[in-house]
Amino acid sequence: MLIRFLYLSAIWFALSLLATLIVGARLRRSDPTLSLGWLAAVILAGNLIAIFTFGRIFEIIILSLIAFGFGGYWIMRLRDWNAAGQVTWSMTVLTTILFIIYAFMLTAFSPLNPISFVFALIFFFLEAITLVLALAHMHESLDVVCRTRWHRLVDKLEPVPGYQPMVSLHLPAYNEPVEVLEKTLTSLARLDYPNFEVLVVDNNTPSEQTWRPLEEICRRLGPNFHCLHLDQWPGYKSGALNFAVAQTDPSAEIIGIIDSDYEVEPDFLKELVPAFADSQVAFVQTPQDYSDYKGDLFSESTYRGYKYFFEVSMPARNERNAIIFAGTMGLIRKSVLEEIGGWDEWCITEDAEASLRILKRGYQSLYIKRSFGRGLMPFNFEGLKKQRFRWCFGGIQILKKHWESLMPWAHWVDPDNKLTLAQRFYYLVGGLGWFSDVFNLLFAFFLILGAVFNIFSSPVQVRPLTDTVLVIPAVFLLLHILRFLWVLRNRLRVSLGVAMATMYNFFSLGWAVTLACLQGLVQREGVFLRTPKSKSASRAWHAVHVTQWETTIALLCIAAGLLSYIINPNWRTLSLCFLLFWQGSLYLAAPIYSLMSLRREATLASQVSEQGRPVAEQWAARWVVALSMVLIAAFSLISFLPEPVALPDYTRFLPVDLSVSSVSPASPFSSLGGLNTSTPTATVTVHSANCREKPRGNGERLAILYAGDQVEITGRNEDLNNPWWYVTIPNSTESCWLWGMTATTNGPVDDLPILP
């Protein structure tokens, strides 16, 4: 029943999501009656498919009632969403819960030796966490596209007559080209606001020739432009910004952060300062935008990748007062910054960290979705990789320090912690979300090992490759990819090609994110990634060289998948090959994007500032290598322990698997009986299954069948709830009894003769 419910729920999930992809963004009203009607329609459509495939009307009715109740609950909870979003969300949650239950049952009751079981348990936890994170992404996507009522959306702030407090704009710089800074400062000089100062804080730039010209530029631009150079200054960018706070005009009420490469529009302050008339507003953030993205796919996809955060994540967070202060193009109340103790100097994403501490004190934040300035993106893939490493490392630092503030019991530990449930959720998911790439690498590793053991026909296994294990995760993967592309297309207004390029741009940085996560877990102080240097003068070779790890992983995945299928061709190894190709493509994106960035590199200089101690990529990767070695060593231990010789008693709790053909609408009459005359077959789904003389667990063993063995069924026992199939032993004329829990069936089994 669990499996049938899972398949049915997956059908509802697929139907509702596909409908949402088509009409979800256009439906601009939310009406509970309409939503309930749509929920019923999706359930009925799914039921039709179910009736024509695996039958069981009574079960379908029960399951439909449960799903309707579950969907109804979410429709009542998500009143600001349209019907498409509400139904898709409820079906996604339902399917995810069911799959997690199924995966646990499979882990718990498959006949595995103890070490295999431990691996299966680890794999299960990884899978469950990944699915929960995928749920969070689904929620965010539906929240921004299917939302019909926005409560905190502000396009333009109303001016407050007479309210023009002093604003101090801080411009931190490290080793920046003077031409870039001059453009930024000139744009600030054109600000249409009467009461502001600009502090240019150059910290630790080694060459005097680089920072001295700033002095002259500031002098030229007027008395409200101040320049200071800080030498041997600790605390990286935060240290410099904290000193700037000390040098801020005492009458300043608001502080703004501007990156050194941003050209700011004249109305930046005029439009945003009115937000601070409300004394509860502590900071305002606007999107970070870039001007140099047109002309090549690398730049365009990188640009869209940045935009995704400001078009999807920030509006969703803003609805719950949970935005992140992203530094540049944001304003912050000076008194609040002083109250929280300034910028934290241990964190390399000090702006995001500060926003969490501010929200903890119960202040309000505001996101204005209009870009007021444009900066420069990293000039090549190497720069992008370093930047993403830094962001992720900072995210992990924040998570490590503030995890307790985000827990359900945070209010009891610290009554002054005023974070709401939604704020805690967004900050927690934001931090944990980085680990998706670590899990992705682990999945790739598990798949490669699976393929290697398959190539050498080793009996080691972590989880039986049942049809459900192959089909449902593939459905999840496909639907979540479609959902991601849909959000990109809808929110960023891009073509499908650019959306796909943007998606792969995210994937291409998975390795850098993985390194940052692992490094962040073991290292306290800020570090930056140093990519390998190549001795060759060829830029193309260097571009490939800086992605050598990603390329190696990609090639390993592809080679393992191909070999596995070539040596042992069947549809399971084909599925494994497909999954490995998919994983390989995620890592292969890195060298491809690196090569694509060559065109951009030729025209621009590097704008990625680095702070912290340098960590060579080879050095950072040692954690991955160490983890892999431990896994391989532990994996090899599996073969030292015997697999269960007979089918253990506990396997009776194993969910009975459905074959793919029995739920495929392509053959709707396959299980109706009488209409299909083909001979039914059974395919063994567990590692090894005993074939017995009698349909009982204590019957004498006549043969052992192995995973993937397909045998012809010539009869069955009477009890369909605990089926035993009378099968023909391969390469023999004899027959034996195979327990139904260990195999899936193809063809009409209901009409088989019942044998004693």
């Binding site: 718990a108 009751f109 006949p111 595995l112 030796n113 103890p114 079981f117 431990v118 348990l121 680890i122 936890f125 700033l214 002095e215 002098r219 101040h226 320049c227 200071l228 150079h229 800080l230 030498d231 041997q232 200054w233 600790p234 904290n242 000193f243 706070v245 000390a246 040098q247 801020t248 005492p250 910054l337 002083e338 109250e339 929280i340 103790g341 300034g342 934290d344 100097e345 241990w346 964190c347 630092q397 320090k401 307790e404 827990m407 019991w409 009891w412 530990v413 610290d414 306290r524 102080e525 269960p644 007979a646 253990p648 008693d649 506990y650």
Partner: protein
């Protein structure tokens, strides 16, 4: 002797204050100079000397000294910021020397050693986190969670040890927050223990199928 010094200092300070107000800078400077020599740890003396100092450098040094002796001397703090700004207009170079919870000590491009106030509250840095009394309980809880992941048998043993650690620590005087944390650890260890029983059973039956 002490009283005489104090009387003399008060007189000099009053005189300097009066001269500053009257615009008699030279007289004020002489009086405050004597005052700073007489009592080098008197912030008001340095502040008044700064008020009448003949050069910007001396003005800055005196303010810096006054501020470092008494960070609550608000006029010194305010004027110091303006003085540093004037200095930075001449020479924007500042090198880090040292810092305390209240001030930065820097060396300017003109080789002046200046104390600059930190304009913010002080938050204990993350890296200098003090060791917590709760550490053993947390350590055993982490071990229990890890053991749960690795088959559950270890968690059956470690979770009660965690609970024991909680009870042991609870007998000590603790902050309210730590008491709540201990309660949370206790609940979590109980949950881990409950979950670990079926998982360890599933693990153990693999040995005796």
């Amino acid at each position: 002797m002490q009283r005489e010094l104090q009387t003399e200092l008060s007189r000099l300070l009053e005189e300097a204050q009066h001269d500053v107000e009257q615009g008699k800078r030279e007289n004020a400077y002489q009086a405050s100079l004597k005052a700073t020599r007489l009592a080098p740890d008197e912030p008001m003396a340095w502040y008044l000397r700064a008020q009448s100092a003949p050069s910007n450098e001396e003005h800055l040094i005196c303010l810096s000294r006054a501020y470092s002796l008494d960070p609550l001397l608000k006029p010194a703090r305010t004027e110091l910021r303006s003085a540093v700004h004037r200095l930075l207009k001449q020479e924007p170079f500042l090198a880090y020397v040292h810092e305390t919870e209240e001030l930065y000590q820097v060396r300017s491009g003109l080789d002046l050693l200046i104390n600059i106030p930190k304009n913010r509250a002080f938050e204990p840095p993350y890296l200098k986190k003090n060791p917590s009394l709760l550490k053993p309980a947390f350590t055993w809880l982490y071990l229990s969670l890890l053991a749960l992941l690795l088959g559950g048998v270890g968690a059956v043993l470690f979770a009660p040890i965690t609970a024991f650690q909680v009870l042991r620590i609870q007998s000590r005087p603790l902050y309210r927050a730590d008491r709540v944390r201990l309660l949370v650890i206790m609940i979590l260890s109980l949950l881990v223990w409950i979950v670990s029983i079926p998982i360890s059973w599933l693990f153990l039956i693999r040995f005796f199928p």
